[in-house]
Every structure is written in structure tokens, then in C-alpha cells.
């Protein structure tokens, strides 16, 4: 049973598609990189998967996963960094599935939170307000929260943007650790070198899927050229789409 099943999915805003007619499956435990030029619909696709954006057409099946089994790390999280909340409390929100509205955070849960903070290399930062962290440290905090969410499907949108190589290496190790635990991981990326060396499967997206499969086969200069050429045109007066199932393939 697939972890994710796209059935002729079209996602977009104001009826304008950003992801057009996507079909395919993601196997459980896959480590999938989604790449493509700016405006290719990577973020849109991920938003659709986590359920923030409803598909304009088609459907996304989560293979029995509840929305709570998904951990999502958005690209530019709309986080109000000036809000007075400590790293500990912020990371603790990752336990929402267990605590919900009222559940307390006991000793065991506290231990878990501290371990998560330690495993992203932020020992001693527990009581710092999130407003005092650097960009890289904040990204580590967000990874710690994903860690606590203990989700079977982890969706990361450009997780290594504007992050130095040391932090990237640390966080990438976490991603591979999640993969090793059998979780399904999807990440929108644009560092080709990283995709080539660390991700087994790749989806090249340019509104529609250009290619999808094992990274070595998919990540070819030809495919990337095709993706680049699929312009970002946004036609205000575009006619309603009637294409049934233009470009698609099942993985």
C-alpha cells in the first residue's frame, strides 16, 4: 500500500493551476526529493499533501494516514519570532498529537523534549526565547519539533535554505535517520548535488511532472532543461482546462 497516492491532482490558486495533472505513488518509507525551478509548484504540491490547500481537481490519498501522522516544515514558516515563548515550550508543541488541548507535559514528555532539543545540537538553549535565535538555530528548533511529532510522513519544504554547511550536514543526518526508521520523507530541494548523493528517488516538477523515478535516472541534464523551459507563464485569461491526463506516470 502506497504512503501517498496522487490521482490526477491539480493544485493551484484562484483556479490557476500551479501543479497540473499529477499522477503517481510514493511508496512507504521512500526518501523523495522534489526538485524544479522557482514557480514549478514544489511548495504548492507539499501544501496539498499536508492538507492546507485543497486540490482544484483530482485527489490525494494518504494511504490511511491521519493528518496528525504528517509533520510539515514550511519554507518560510509564518512564525512570529517576537512572541515570548521559550525554545522548550515551542518544541513541546510537537507533542500536540499526544497532549491535544489540555494534556499535561509530564516528566517523561519533558525528557523527550530535552532529548529532541539535544539531538539537534541545541543543549542549553531550552529557556531561551525563540526571538534570540539565529536563522540556523531556528531551523534546528523546527527540526526538533518535527522530531517530536513522530510522524510517519515528513514533509520538508526547502529545509536547507540559507543554512550553513555545518547545520545542513547535521539536519541532513536527521533526515537520513528518519528514513532509516522507515518513515516516508518528502523534501523540496534545489541543491542538485545533495539530491544526487542523499536522495534515492526524485520527482522533477515543472507544474506538470517532468520525470519521476530513481534519482540517477531522473536527474539528467535533459530533464532539467525541460523543466527550466516550462515557463512560469500565468495567463490571466486562460481557458478552462480540458486536458484529461496529459503528462503523467506512475512510479
Amino acid at each position: 500500500m502506497a504512503a501517498l497516492h496522487f490521482h490526477n491532482v491539480t493544485l493551484g490558486y484562484d483556479r490557476h493551476p500551479a501543479v497540473h495533472h499529477l499522477n503517481g505513488e510514493v511508496a512507504p518509507g521512500a526518501l523523495l526529493a522534489v526538485i524544479g525551478p522557482n514557480g514549478a509548484g514544489k511548495s504548492t504540491l507539499l501544501r496539498g499533501i499536508v492538507g492546507i490547500l485543497k486540490p482544484l481537481d483530482g485527489s490525494i490519498h494518504l494511504g490511511g494516514l491521519d493528518s496528525r501522522d504528517i509533520a510539515y516544515l514550511p519554507q518560510s514558516a509564518e512564525i512570529d519570532r517576537s512572541f515570548p515563548i521559550s525554545v522548550l515550550d515551542f518544541v513541546a508543541t510537537g507533542l500536540w498529537r499526544g497532549t491535544g488541548l489540555f494534556g499535561g507535559i509530564g516528566k517523561a514528555a519533558r525528557e523527550k523534549i530535552l532529548r529532541a532539543i539535544a539531538s539537534v545540537g541545541l543543549n542549553g538553549f531550552e529557556n531561551r526565547p525563540i526571538g534570540t535565535l539565529s536563522g540556523g538555530q531556528m531551523q534546528r528548533v523546527l527540526f526538533a519539533r518535527v522530531l517530536l511529532q513522530d510522524a510517519r510522513l515528513i514533509v520538508l519544504d526547502e529545509p536547507f535554505n540559507a543554512i550553513d554547511s555545518k547545520t545542513t550536514a547535521d539536519l541532513l543526518a536527521l533526515v537520513k535517520h528518519w528514513h532509516g526508521e522507515g518513515r516516508t520523507v518528502l523534501a523540496a530541494l534545489h541543491d542538485m548535488e545533495m539530491v544526487r548523493t542523499h536522495f534515492s528517488e526524485t520527482l522533477v516538477l515543472a507544474r506538470g511532472p517532468v520525470a519521476w523515478g530513481p534519482t540517477a535516472e531522473v536527474l539528467t541534464p535533459e530533464n532539467l532543461m525541460v523543466a527550466m523551459r516550462m515557463c512560469e507563464a500565468f495567463d490571466d485569461s486562460a481557458a478552462a482546462c480540458s486536458a484529461d491526463d496529459a503528462r503523467s506516470r506512475a512510479a
Binding site: 492546507i52 504528517i70 514550511p74 514558516a77 512572541f83 508543541t93 500536540w96 511529532q149
Partner: protein, 289 residues
Amino acid sequence: MLYDALIGPFTEFEFMRRALAAVIALSLAGAPIGVFLMLRRMSLVGDAMAHAILPGAAVGFLLSGLNLFAMTAGGLIAGFAVAILAGLVARSTGLKEDASLATFYLASLALGVTIVSIKGTNIDLLHVLFGNILAMDDQTLLVVAFNATVTLLVLAVIYRPLVIESVDPLFLRTVSRAGGPAHLAFLALVVINLVNGFQALGTLLAVGLMILPAGIARFWSRDLTVMICIAVVAAAVSGYAGLVLSFQTRVPSGPAIILVASALYTVSVLFGTVGGVVRQLFPGRHLEA
């Protein structure tokens, strides 16, 4: 001597005791709401809402006199009507939400003043606009206390989603559907506390006992819980000192309370340990790490 000035008025006069009880109840409930208003960058929304609920409260006032229950019900209806209408106009026309809210609250304020002055006297109008905490009867006091209790209970229920929604709304949307209801409940609490402040401070100043203490707290702590405690204490102290000031000098009680709060705010801006002016001008030598 000091006893006469600071405690005497309250042992001697029942209306002063009632006023003190009311102002403490208002502080307990209003100040935490104010902290959230400030942190969610909604300080001026609170102000606008205070004006928006005037027609509803005015209708309640005309139908049943200074009955806080009727005024609360009217205020809630008017407040929600304005909030929803403003939201609808903003969403359907592309007008920004704040601009839309501004037009609605101005219209509401005008309508409210008109309603009061058609049927009431000038005294009534003054009363609605500026309140009179010294004229608090037992029944009103009970309603104030009841509203404050409800506020604290509801706030306890929505506290966690409210905090998470303030920090990271997108995250809350991915893990829970509690964000929307929590926000609505919070708006209801804002309206309830504004109406609650009516009797004491009037429409124009009701929001003062919510926002000023929150502003004060911001200068003394970086921790939410501590901030809320400081805000409550600051509000209660302002209330008490304002009553004493008003008793001794014949300054009207509502403005006296807000003036004391403003004085505390000024001190906080200057000498606060978190981002206060003096602290910024003379930060001391930089630290080692």
C-alpha cells in the same frame, strides 16, 4: 494620616469598596486578554471593537437601563456583527481588514451616540462614554465578577491553541482545527471584557485597562506567564491608585485609573528591564558571550 489617605476611603464608604472589587475583577480578566491582544498585534482592533459595540450596548441600556446583562448581550451582538461584516467586506472587495473595520466602528460609534442621545439624557451619554465606577450596585458588581470568571475559564480552555496560533498559525492548522474556534472565542472574550469595562470606564476608556497593563508588562518580562501576572498586578494597582486619586482630588474615577496606568506605562518605557529607553541608552559593557 497615610491610613486616612490610602485605606480610609475603602473602610468608610461602601461605594469605594464596591469600586475596588469591580476594578480588581476587571484587572484579573481584562489584563490577560490585553496581553494577547498586544502579542497578536491587535491592540487597535481592541480599541475599534470598543467603539463598535456601543450601539448594541446603547440599545440594551435604553431597553433596561443600566443593566449590565442587557448591555453585555447587546454589546456582544453588535461586536460580532461589526467584526463579521468588516471581515466580509474586506474579503469580498479587497479592502484591507483594518480599513474596513475602521469605517464600521466609526459608523457604529455615531449610531450608538445617536441612540443614547435620542432617548437618554446628557448624563446617560456621559455615563456610557466615560463610565462611573462609583455608581456600581450589587447586581452590576455580580455581573462584572461573573463575566471575569467566565473569561478566565474560557481563556484556560483556549490558552494552548491561542498561544500556538499566535506564534505559528500554519503549524496549528496542520495539526488541529482548534485555531479558528479559539480565535472566535478570543474575540468574544474581547467583547465581553470591553462591555464589562463599560460601567467602570465607559466605551472610550474600557480598552485602557486591557492594553496599558499589557504594554507595561512587555517592558519587564520576556516570558508569557510572567507577563500576564505583571499585567494583572499593574491593572489592579492602577485601579486602586486611580480610585484613591479620584477620591482625594475629584478627578473622575475612570480617567484617574487610566491616568495612573499611563504613568506606570511611562515609567516602564523609561526604566523597563526589557527594551526600556534607559537600558538602551546605558546598556553597560557588553558581555563575554
